[in-house]
Symmetry: C2
Subunit: 250 residues, 2 copies
């Protein structure tokens, strides 16, 4: 029997956002590998082994998945959101590149998922409705100077922006610095959306002007979206609609 | 009976990439509104009226959907991919903002979908595995000078890049200019992925070095992904794996 590795995106939380092809892959798997809370989203069944591991061991997890596939197992590596956006797909390919040649010929597929920024944007309206960028604010993976440079250039390009991993207990001060950089570079009160745990029972969406955004509005489960200079707010009863128009005037 | 508007993403083409919540919305709808090829993806049934319209009439279509919802109909506006990424969500909210006050209190929801760049990235490996941007190359909607400025700033920020609407019959020369700008700004042979009609029977994925990319490799159904300076290629039997590592060295 031929083994395989599928790197699958479970979407932001709700089962209603899991694609049918991911559901099929999970039904065919012998093994599921991933970070504890993501593996917990997979229903146990006879014949399926769940391998839950801690955060920050992405390469170990990737190698384990590849080893099992090489031994003939059918392995699903689960990520939240989309596996190709700040998630497990790059880690698996890093392990492939550094690993034995035989791993290159394994059947490895990536199944996309609904990534957090697009689920969050949908809840708020359409803040990413024109050109935008996605930046991981964690400086575990890159120097802080590069993050600041990207923030300034993104504002100069007038992209809408989505920020993943804005804040964690290990990095309480980084997001405060990011907000300072943005306020200085933008010089306006464009909307900032804090979208926490979208599509789960703990979902909370809050929109504030950049001038009023504070670091503690974000945590590890929050994705933050900052509008471009053209992003608009439609006031109404209940939560406002935030959207970026399709047209940019000459 | 209360009407509503759902702006739903059908994903890039395959039914296996349509989320369950979109399937449910289509099952509850009285009316489906959208561009001809997207409406053609919805199965006809008794009690469901299909309103297919031409491209470039997005605002008319949006107003029609809102008028029907105000009259008590349950309307799904269908987009390819994700409705919040260069698609119908912004058009609907533009119509809401310019329309009668009563439209602001309608039940309007956006249901995310698998957007083309993430489906394409999954097929190629994980080229958007670190910070990236998404740019619509159509200059129907913005001045060409702004597109060139964004390309240069995106290269300076060392984002991976995804380009929507790279080329159409009405704009044959724009993508050639974009490639010239990228070659001058990047100065390297980083990988460029041309992903056409992903997840459909016509799917074709081609990866070439930036130095060898030509305009005719793209058409209206192609999304183009350009790596960052760190994007890697893993050679193997069959198509190579293209991925951007999670780490950026100091």
């Amino acid at each position: 029997m031929s083994g395989w590795v599928v790197i699958a995106g479970l979407g932001p939380g709700s089962d209603a956002l899991v694609t049918p092809e991911v559901t099929v892959a999970l039904a065919q798997a012998t093994d599921v590998v991933g970070y504890v809370p993501y593996v917990a989203r997979v229903a146990p069944r006879a014949g399926l082994v769940l391998h839950a591991s801690d955060n920050r061991v992405e390469l170990d997890r990737a190698r384990h998945a590849l080893e099992m596939a090489a031994a003939g197992r059918r392995v699903v590596v689960v990520s939240s959101g989309d596996p190709g956006v700040f998630a497990m797909a790059s880690a698996v390919f890093e392990a492939v590149e550094a690993g034995p040649d035989a791993w290159r010929d394994l059947d490895i597929r990536v199944l996309p998922g609904i990534t957090a920024m697009l689920a969050a944007a949908a809840r708020a309206g359409a803040p990413l409705g024109h050109d935008f960028c996605a930046i991981n604010l964690s400086d575990n993976l890159k120097p802080w100077t590069l993050i600041e440079k990207r923030l300034r250039l993104a504002v100069e390009a007038d992209f809408a922006m989505a920020f993943y991993n804005p804040r964690s207990k290990a990095r309480p001060e980084g997001f405060a610095r990011a907000l300072d950089v943005l306020r200085a570079a933008c010089g306006d009160a464009r909307p900032v959306i804090f979208a926490r745990a979208v599509s789960t029972p703990e979902e909370a969406i809050r929109t504030v002007p950049l001038t009023e955004a504070t670091p503690e509005m974000a945590d590890m489960r929050t994705v933050v979206i900052v509008g471009s200079s053209l992003t608009r707010i439609i006031a109404r009863n209940g939560a406002p609609i935030v959207y970026t128009p399709r047209f940019t005037p000459e």
